[in-house]
Amino acid sequence: MNKFTLQLRVKHSEGALVRILGVTRRRRFDLLHLTADTTEDGHFLDIQMTVQADRAENTLVRQIEKLEDVSQVEVVEPGETAGERRTARSTAC
């Protein structure tokens, strides 16, 4: 099992959170933990989610990246703050 945590920034649009959760489930990643907050201006949602699966993290990262309203996807350590994030791998396949 591969367990990892994603930090996402998503436009606060109709169905944004459901869309993310839907992709996560359809691609067969189990959700273990989730927090979501609107940004101060109300335009975005900041989501941190921990998931596990037999599949590689990039499988999910790339499907989430494709969503129209997603502006940021990063793999982070659980509980890590924005300044400490390491960026998601973008070249390895």
Binding site: E14, G15, V18, G22, T59, Q63, K66, E68, C93
Partner: protein
Amino acid sequence: MKGAEFLVKALEHEGVEIIFGYPGGAIMPVYDALLDSKIRHILVRHEQAAALAADGYARATGKVGVCMATSGPGATNLVTGIANAYMDSVPMVAITGQVATSLMGTDAFQEVDIFGITLPVVKHSFLAKTAAELPRIVHEAFRIARSGRPGPVLIDLPKDIANTVAAYEFHEDDSSEESAEPSEESITRALTLMHESRNPVVYAGGGIGMGNALDEFRAFIETTRIPAVATLKGLGALPTTHELALGMMGMHGTKTANHAVQTCDLLICVGARFDDRATGRLNAFAPNARVIHLDVDRAEVGKLRRADVPVIGNLRHALKALTCKLGNIEPWRRECTASKETHAWDYAAPGTEVYAPGFLKSLSDRAGDDSIVACDVGQHQMWVAQHFHFNRPSQHLSSGGLGTMGYGLPAAIGAQLAFPNACVINVSGDGSIMMNLQELATLRRYDLPVKIVLFDNRALGMVRQWQELFHDKRYSEVDLSDNPDFCRVAESMGIPAFRVEDRADVSGAIDRLLAEPGPVLAHVLIHQEANVWPIVGPGRSNSEMLHEHEVAREVAR
């Protein structure tokens, strides 16, 4: 101006010429606004056909197909067509009426959460909350539908928003739709692998046509001289008769194509996604090959097969950058083209009944390069893929990813409306035709000269074939011997029809089909136990193709 008029005006601004749809309560304001528009509305007889016709229109033209339905059942009936477009990356905008915002969430009459229902099968979706945002939403929907990897976009429009009066603000933005160019590093690495390879094969997918990269693809093949196999959707990327076109790969592919892929040392995948029907057992697919994967959708690369070199971005740029002369592949090319001759299709089948592959080969020869074929799903679909000659992918409208029975007739309607003078043929089966039979009435209403070839084996042929080969001949729910008289059904809807029962009559039947100025249906009886050959069994590797003579020998033992 009302929101509904905004919507229609914005559609006109996007260049929409045709909408396929069906009216109803919640979408009525839009239908009212359409009366004053130059956009042509095509009234189908079931909303599923509206979505599938929009899909056929989009595949044939490369433009965004537009369909429309009311809330509730109108909207849910669109879903199969939207999913079909999603699976095959077809640009589409689907517009649904919705109950008024004050009623949403109250289980109102004809209320359904179509936004929620379609989430897994749309590229994106919008719920209109104000009239003023409609021009922006429409513009965004079209941009998203056609950019990058194309797909369907839903706009759900509550009735009160459609009736709201507001000032129209024209929406224009200049954001680029061009997808990114591949990195120089990936091109350099890909070129290195290409020059090292002795037995390269190109695996051509639907992305070539959808990505408008046909010219670049052909120049790439002509210069590198690498033999190419095609997926169902990649057929026509090279003309079928091209010396380097090895035919379709996969479950019902050619021996030559599958053998080339299984023995190559380099597989260059261009706009394809390693679908299970194409690869057979994945861990035995192209076992000796390194992989270069060109795709506009990063998520497809490495999804099922690791790519040694991913080339992410616009296919046109990628193919141009990889076009170069290669040395040392001449013996391999000769081996591939020789195999093509050895394994050429044999149309001399025993018996006097109509032989569907032979029928299709003759039809293809006579219908010519400008014809468009829309098929349904099943055995006939595979025979079309195997035996029709294609000069471009947009000539072949086939439901690849979703495998939607009932696709063909609506898709043919969409294509014929786009190209009124083209020879548009719907090849169907006695199972599939019944899935959207009501659209014969649409053919008649608009007098669309679609030629329908209905192969009738009195069975759900592909399922029957699987039960014969892989379920010990335990036939379960595949008998259709009580089919209606299809000629009389067609005639009752104003479509001339005739029956073809004997192989000797095929030539005359094709004459009659092609000479008919309007719509016509040829009801073609074939043997009930006709199978599609060759076949790769479920869970088998593409190296283990079953051929008719081998299976016959097996049975004789």
